[in-house]
Homo-oligomer: 303 residues x 2
């Protein structure tokens, strides 16, 4: 497929791609500015079937134990498993996206995930997907309100109906079904969103542009709190749950692995360290139990 004949004018796909690439660069710089010592590496890679990406990973930082920000633009024949899942006979696709995960070192600082992607198929159909969600180990209501308020403002700038819909979809999507709890305290999530391309691109841009403002203040604030073995143990256990969600349920991950995507880029979302302990449930009345309570009963954080 040639670019630029799609959805909303000559160079629409390239505009989306360029936005994601510039967003990656902007976010990595800002993350480095809150991190003390570590810096992002850069790995450009090519996809054998067409396209490629740039994976940027920072590991073992003082503030950020691991952060991964990847962009990719891939095209070619639609993998057979995906074509049949989409019930389409068309064979070619073009897709671009940005994907980000941050696992801070301080257990009081929340992990975050963000992803926006554009997919077009066979020259006829296209859609956007994405969202952003927060995964704290300890609940700070003001952090949840801050994060959700920022996302709501971003959504509202495009369409007032978006935030309530995408907030609900996020709680549903990021559920670890076998644990009967969500991965974190949510955010927004949308998939297969069709319509006016410029409006949907504006949504992806609003979500991308608001990311640093939604998240960085939380890291800066919580990173000042002292923590010890108890908090670290809890953080590692929660990261085990994060691994469970990503490997068992996350569509991007399972689809990427099934279709022989670039494994190191797909699994860059996994935490650096994760623990599992048998029957380790927090005692009632603890801050750990308070987190689990909210994961079992998602709340509305902004109206």
């Amino acid at each position: 497929m040639s670019l630029g004949q799609q959805a909303g004018g000559m160079d629409f796909p390239m505009r989306v791609k360029t936005y994601f690439e510039q967003l990656q660069s902007r976010i990595c710089s800002a993350l480095e500015s809150v991190e003390g010592s570590a810096r992002f590496g850069s790995d450009a890679w090519e996809r054998p079937g067409g396209g490629g990406g740039l994976s940027r990973v920072l590991e073992e930082g003082d503030v950020l134990e691991k952060a991964g920000v990847g962009v990719s633009t891939v095209f070619g024949d639609l993998p057979r498993t995906m074509a049949s899942r989409m019930k389409t006979a068309t064979a070619d696709f073009w897709a671009t996206g940005i994907s980000l995960v941050v696992h801070p070192r301080n257990p009081y600082a929340p992990a975050v995930h963000m992803n926006y992607r554009y997919f077009q198929e066979g020259g006829n159909d296209f859609w956007f997907g994405g969202g952003s969600d927060l995964t704290p180990n300890y609940l700070y209501e003001e952090d949840a309100v801050h994060f959700h308020s920022a996302l709501k403002r971003a959504c509202d700038s495009v369409d007032g109906s978006y935030y309530p819909r995408f907030k609900k979809a996020c709680d549903e999507y990021f559920t670890i079904k076998h644990r009967k709890e969500t991965r974190g305290i949510g955010g927004i999530f949308f998939d297969d969103l069709r319509g006016d391309p410029e409006k949907l691109f504006a949504l992806a841009r609003a979500g991308g542009d608001v990311f640093l403002e939604s998240y960085l203040p939380l890291v800066e604030r919580r990173n000042r709190e002292a923590w010890g073995d108890r908090e670290r143990r809890w953080q590692l256990l929660r990261r085990g749950r994060y691994v469970e969600f990503n490997l068992v349920y996350d569509r991007g991950t399972t689809f990427g692995l099934e279709t022989q995507g670039r494994v190191e880029s797909i699994l860059m979302s996994l935490p650096p360290h994760a623990d599992w302990r048998y029957m380790d449930q927090p005692r009632a009345g603890t801050r750990e139990a308070a987190l689990v309570e909210v994961l079992q009963h998602p709340r509305e954080w902004v109206r």
Copy 2:
């Protein structure tokens, strides 16, 4: 379904169940004898739909960082997802099994997994499944030969055709497809094995009885070797791969999670700690690279 009217005489299912329960007890005692300080806990549990089990877990031992040995006997209505997968209209089942995982602390000592199970369905059909496989972090050819020889002797005591078949099936089953490598250096694996019930029970018993002899000498031998940060880092990275296999591919795990099995018993196979690092490949010529080489190209260890 009432017990004792099935496959090979009055009390066949109960004989299988009793064997698994006694095997669990025998194995836990033997594992405690190689472990220095830690002891197995015992958790009896009931399944809401019918049946229950006994999960025995040892954590944070000097020699065994984590060991889990579970038995369960469950019955009732066949979960709908399973019934449709089996293309059966029958609704009731009865199943008993033993499942074991050991993650030693010393990175030179291999992890091991063993599982034997008996399943009967609707009063008409029944089968055995199971096997045992070894997951070293460092390759010792004599350990691989010891482990496979023991399993071959066990198989040969029942049927000379079993070992070659089940060894091949094991390499295929325990493949981490997205990594293009096996989880470990294999062993035996069989599933949906039908036929003479006494012969198949003899196979499960031979596999169960040979377990301690196949594995304990390896732990005792490798536990004497000194290790440091490099070996520990590699072990934790390999355990990350173990998690990937279990959560993405292992049928027992994914089926158990899908059908709302007892999560803590299903995930007791996961290692206590696991790491992921971006693009961390062992350098050519190292012992770590030698392991990966054999995981990418499974070998015959006994003829």
